[in-house]
């Protein structure tokens, strides 16, 4: 009898064959198959850590936002003691959605159907007409709360997982934390969200977006060629940005680091050892940072991280399975270079639909004036109307359509551009390091981790 725990799809295909290490190919059907999608909801979204938002979205006791873990709605709420809790937004009584608003503040979440009430931490408070014990006596009240997810706050970012006994968040990040820390964990105040996330539906499988996030540099050259047309000087500026260092992980996380000395004229001497951290930082602080922030950044990062930040900072990338991050330089007409800081999640909404969620951030120490500029810049480039990402969101649906075809689904996605270079000399960071032209390695790692999870028993 076929069950979900066998490593075979109902048509007899071994799951392991969907991703073929021998030729670095992935069967296109993974972008459209409903059975695979259902398995993913268990084995990927039921098992990994998922990004839900940022603590600055719910600063006060009782604040909550409604978010999604895979295809499940959850309540992310701050309790009276300041702790943040993530609870399944499904009433234990009859399954009604308890929270119906995108955001709000309440000391008690009361289900509108029969009135069962829950604390921000998910605990059951009681049901109306207490003396009638309408919640019965079969289960103790302690078992009638909202189902709670395991929560981890990383640099203000709220992560949660249903995998209560599974790896810790730090284990999940692994080596990559060294790099992520350079982005999220560098200042005292940390990141701050600039408002609620943009949300829109793309008729595409979530993995079309997911695999790109980890970290497809190459497509920029063609799909975002307008960047060259509009901002280039007639040459092929974009091609030069294809060179850099990609950092990956067996867990599918990925980041692209770019050499400042190659990217910015003002930074041409940044990696020849001639300049101090201070000198370099004053000329070009990390994206989103200001010169004044140096002291706190230094306090938070190791000297090796500082050096990395001043030579080859990570700028874009992803976090498995469905996070894209951008922390990029945003040159201004006045010559200043600010930052554009954003995180996306790609919420699966069926085998052929995803919800694109786009948060925009700044460092909490950023001035109001700079915030405005950074926000406008980011809206211009990323998200709903972003000139870069509007091309991506019109592309993924075509891939998903291809994967629905009976012949199309037999095609493969190929990750055969292999980086064979050694890490750059003096590279300070851990992880799988790929130097040179952007190749397919980190994306391939992403698929291999997806495969590993898909092969794991429930």
């Amino acid at each position: 009898m076929l069950t979900r725990t066998t490593p075979t799809l109902s048509d007899g295909t071994p799951i392991e064959d969907l991703v073929r290490p021998a030729t670095r190919e992935v069967e296109l059907r993974v972008l459209s198959d409903r059975e695979i999608y259902e398995l993913e909801m268990e084995r990927v979204f039921g098992k990994t850590w998922l990004l839900l938002g940022h603590a600055s979205e719910i600063p006060n006791a009782g604040d909550f936002v409604m978010r999604d873990m895979g295809n499940d709605s959850v309540i992310v709420a701050r309790d009276r003691d300041g702790s943040i809790h993530v609870s399944l937004n499904v009433c234990p009584h009859r399954g009604m959605r308890v929270c119906l608003a995108d955001a709000g503040n309440t000391p008690v979440h009361k289900c509108i159907y029969h009135g069962w009430a829950f604390k921000p931490n998910g605990e059951f408070v009681g049901s109306p007409v207490a003396e009638e014990k309408m919640h019965g006596e079969i289960l103790p009240k302690s078992e009638l709360g909202l189902r709670k997810a395991r929560v981890h706050i990383y640099a203000g970012l709220i992560f949660a997982t249903w995998n209560i006994e599974g790896p810790s968040f730090d284990e999940f990040l692994g080596d990559m934390k060294w790099y992520y820390d350079m982005i999220f964990n560098r200042t005292k105040g940390g990141w701050e969200v600039l408002g609620p996330p943009q949300r829109f539906i793309v008729n595409a499988n979530w993995k079309a977006a997911g695999e790109q996030s980890a970290a497809d540099g190459f497509h920029t050259l063609t799909l975002h060629r307008w960047l060259d047309e509009m901002f280039g000087n007639g040459g092929s500026e974009l091609t030069s940005t294809m060179y850099g260092v990609e950092v990956g992980s067996e867990h599918g996380h990925a980041l692209r680091c770019q050499s400042l000395s190659k990217k910015f004229a003002r930074a041409k001497d940044f990696d020849n050892g001639s300049m101090s951290i201070e000198e370099r930082w004053n000329i070009l602080p990390a994206p989103g940072c200001t010169p004044e922030m140096l002291d706190e950044v230094r306090a938070n990062l190791t000297p090796e991280q500082m050096e990395q930040l001043m030579t080859n900072p990570p700028q874009v990338g992803g976090m498995f399975p469905n996070v894209l991050l951008a922390c990029i330089y945003a040159p201004q007409p006045d010559g200043r270079i600010l930052g554009s800081m954003a995180l996306h999640t790609y919420i699966p909404r069926g085998p052929d639909k995803l919800e694109f969620v786009n948060w925009v951030f700044c460092e909490s120490g950023t001035s109001q004036e700079d915030r405005d500029v950074m926000l406008k810049n980011t809206i211009f480039m990323l998200g709903t109307s972003g000139l870069v990402e509007q091309d991506d969101s019109d592309t993924w649906p075509h891939m998903t359509l291809s994967a629905r075809g009976t012949q199309g689904r037999k095609a493969t996605m190929k990750y055969q551009a292999i980086n064979a270079n050694p890490p750059p000399k003096n590279w300070r960071g851990p992880g799988l390091v790929y130097d040179g032209f952007t190749k397919d390695d980190t994306q391939w790692n992403w698929w291999m981790y997806w495969r590993e999870l898909m092969l794991s028993a429930d």
């Binding site: 949300r199 539906i201 047309e229 406008k376 709903t384 109307s385 509007q390 969101s393």
Partner: protein, 190 residues
């Protein structure tokens, strides 16, 4: 005049002393309506460069988010922090420049669009010679072989300036009706 629950959903100007209404049927009203129909035609015909001519140099063009909030929090259902559009003349022109290049793939092949404009209400704006124009729109958008029209409805809250022989758009705020948009991008103008 109203103690209703959701004053915040009303355009801001309603909270103050009511400004003078431009009567439907008046010449001024009709001229403005004409400008709106022409704008719709310009956009639907992909004449984007022509469209930028109707934008004031100091134009502000925004599209707030909508949130699902409880009735008592309706004043927060329009959120102007992170918006879908937050543009000025420079960024709108850049968007048009991109569309007229060779690689604006999000709109190549272009969408077939239709902007149905209705419910136009006009009052005098604070600035002399300027008018606050509120209108409803239904946008239909068709791409590729998709047999279902993608739809978007909403209200535009504009300020237009009368330049004598024509009008210019001084500001536009687009109030959409969805918390989660049904389109994969706003690679089009609203």
């Amino acid at each position: 005049m109203s103690t209703d629950v959701a004053p915040a959903l009303a355009p801001a100007e309603l909270d103050q002393a009511a400004p003078r209404r431009i009567m439907i049927g008046s010449e001024l009203y009709s001229r403005i309506v004409e400008a709106y129909y022409d704008e719709a035609e310009t956009l639907d015909a992909l004449r984007f460069a022509e469209w930028t001519e109707w934008l004031a140099k100091d134009v502000r063009y925004t599209c707030p988010q909508r949130l699902t909030r409880s009735l008592k929090d309706q004043d927060k259902s329009i959120d102007r922090r992170v918006m879908h559009f937050d543009e000025n003349h420079g960024t709108l022109s850049a968007r048009v420049r991109r569309l007229r290049g060779n690689s604006a793939f999000a709109e190549d092949p272009p969408s077939r669009t239709r902007r149905l404009i209705t419910n136009i209400r006009i009052t005098e704006a604070d600035e002399p010679g300027a008018y606050a124009v509120r209108s409803y729109f239904l946008l239909t958008r068709s791409r590729f072989e998709n047999a279902n029209l993608a739809l978007m409805s909403g209200e535009r809250r504009d300020i237009v300036r009368d330049l004598g022989d024509r009008f210019e758009l001084a500001s536009r705020e687009i109030i959409l009706d969805q918390a989660v948009l049904g389109m994969p991008n706003l690679a089009i103008f609203l």
